[in-house]
Chain length 369, copies 2
């Protein structure tokens, strides 16, 4: 039923090449290539003979040689911090699905949020002649290596972050709006003192000037900062004061400091009535600590998180969250990438695609009415 490549006793070592097909069919390589490629003229007899030879030998073209000649490899790269992270692996799946549709494959590389690894990754992918790269850049400012890619005419799409250079396509969630909506919801439930617990990249300036964070559509953007913006915007719009003591930004990748930050909020003289946790790690830390200290949610403390995870519906109470679909973001990024790859070279660059995030109200927010 299925074809059985290599089952004929002739070629044992290497796969048959076009040359073998041509020899078997008794024609030149050029003629065989014409039949396979479907261009130029070919007599019916040659078409038949080549087709037959292909079938007999189980011939499949060598993509490396094809890449060599055409420059197109049918491979794209995905550069992220850590493929085992739920966000990135879901995005990867979205990218793979689109790639499959386009007849391409995906090489994934991890940076562990290190600029040097990211630079290395782009170099390697370039030497593999990938058709394009989807990247979640470590830094939204230092992107000389990414500019080098576009300079080398390699399409690039930035995922989940927007570079300061506006010449590069980006796909991001509407972090600011979704966060503002979530904070609005807390406010509508009567909350006045709302803590913001988030993470910042190690690479970010250590003393982040909250006062300087402003809503903006252009310019560099990363989720952590956009969510701070949404928080500030919602408070300001509601006429509530911004208490700097209610904002905690912890360097990424230091679990203890996350717990410390939550504990510090609880120990405040005027503690908040609700915690907004701006990423899944912080949500987990906050829930863990509240649970460990037997602080009832939402009676004594309301909790609202960003990012949905499996466990948010398994624990009691179920956690209200803002959800972003990493899968959809991956798909969108891949769609953009292939649009650049196949599109005319004059295609518009720097397009910003915003994926909506949804608010899922569950049982972790108390109404203070």
């Amino acid at each position: 039923m299925a074809t059985e490549p290599g089952s004929s006793g002739s070629s044992k070592r290497s796969r048959p090449s076009l040359k073998d097909v041509a020899a078997r069919a008794g024609v030149s390589r050029a003629s065989a290539s014409r039949v396979l490629g479907g261009y130029g003229y070919s007599s019916q007899e040659i078409v038949d003979r080549v087709t037959e030879a292909v079938r007999e030998l189980g011939y499949e073209p060598d993509r490396i040689a094809r890449t060599m000649r055409s420059g197109k490899s049918d491979v794209i790269g995905f550069v992220c911090a850590d493929i085992s992270d739920a966000f990135f692996s879901s995005a990867m799946r979205g990218i793979c699905d689109v790639a499959l549709r386009e007849g391409s494959q995906v090489i994934a590389m991890n940076t562990d949020d290190q600029l040097s690894q990211e630079q290395q990754a782009t170099r390697v992918l370039l030497s593999h002649k990938v058709d394009g790269i989807i990247i979640t850049p470590v830094s939204v400012r230092e992107h000389g290596h990414i500019d080098a890619l576009t300079g080398a005419e390699v399409p690039v799409v930035s995922l989940d972050r927007q570079l300061s250079d506006i010449g590069i396509d980006s796909v991001v969630a509407d972090n600011e709006a979704a966060t503002a909506a979530a904070i609005d919801h807390l406010i509508s439930q009567g909350h006045r003192r709302i803590a913001f617990l988030g993470s910042v990249q190690r690479e970010e300036p250590p003393a982040l000037r909250i006062g300087k964070v402003r809503a903006s559509v252009v310019g560099p953007s990363r989720p952590s900062l956009d969510r701070v913006r949404g928080y500030l915007r919602a408070l300001t719009a509601a006429g509530l004061p911004v208490d700097r003591g209610l904002i905690a930004l912890v360097p990424h990748g230091e679990p203890e400091r996350r717990l410390d930050a939550v504990a510090a909020m609880l120990a405040l003289e005027h503690p908040p009535s609700a915690l907004f946790t701006a990423d899944s790690y912080m949500t987990k830390s906050a829930f863990s600590l509240l649970s460990k200290r037997d602080i009832p949610i939402p009676e004594q403390m309301s909790l609202l998180g960003f990012d949905d995870l499996e466990w948010t519906t398994l624990v009691r109470p179920q956690i209200s969250v803002v959800v972003q679909s990493a899968y959809d973001m991956g798909r969108a990024a891949a769609d953009r990438l292939f649009a650049q790859i196949s599109g005319s070279s004059g295609a518009v660059r720097g397009q910003r695609t915003v994926i909506p995030a949804r608010f899922l109200g569950r049982d972790s927010v108390r109404s203070l009415g």
Copy 2:
């Protein structure tokens, strides 16, 4: 500080080739290649001139051309059901880490547990001239396409499953022993009626003959069946009867049927005192249902699961589980693969690597002493 490839105004379009380097250094391609490759003889002057030219042009060799010539691509393939699954994405990370050490990249492909997609994937990877493939086969019996790989001299390692053909390396968890240990623990806590809730592949024979499942080191193996074996072995060793009504195997990917299976156990005339859930999906379903019905764990029902997940320590009570490290399994598989790739062609094939699983006792098992 960093090198700036392509910054010299000369070559704008494509990256510089060895030919460009040779021309700039005023030597032949052969001489330039000798300097770069570090073989043959080269005068100091030529070494210096070539090195300088490489630096000036920011030359980096084209891996496609190198692959063309050498047959080695420095790319390996990872074929799994779904890269967004926690198990596979962790394994992928392990594979990537080893690949990085070996100077290779990883192409990931999803099969969604469909044999046709898996066959397609292997064909594509072959045409990309990957140096080797790590695969979690859909079927442990139909593996003609995998045999074709080894026939084409492409190293293959089977992850999490063992093919019936013993000529292929495999890396698996010690599912049977770990399950037996977990069941032993339940028995030692006084449990006599222990339910086994697991999943089977759609591809498996629908009416699995439990009676025919026997412990065996060779032969085809997949986690679901090995765990059944461990369960049976532990019961038998303890002299407990095997009640077929306490064993439920649900087709993979049908959440409702999982919940039904759990509900059926609870509705039994003589219900079990403990549930052993043989995979993370089933553990989740069981916990969900027990939680929804307000059946206290472990007072009314003990629960012990296979696979650790983030949420098992967030819920109350914390769930006792058997943990397998997908990351370690990925690493081990990649180690084996590269051993095959770089090893002498006469390397031993068919090696079986077993990764130990650990039992983590927490609070979801009641002692009936």
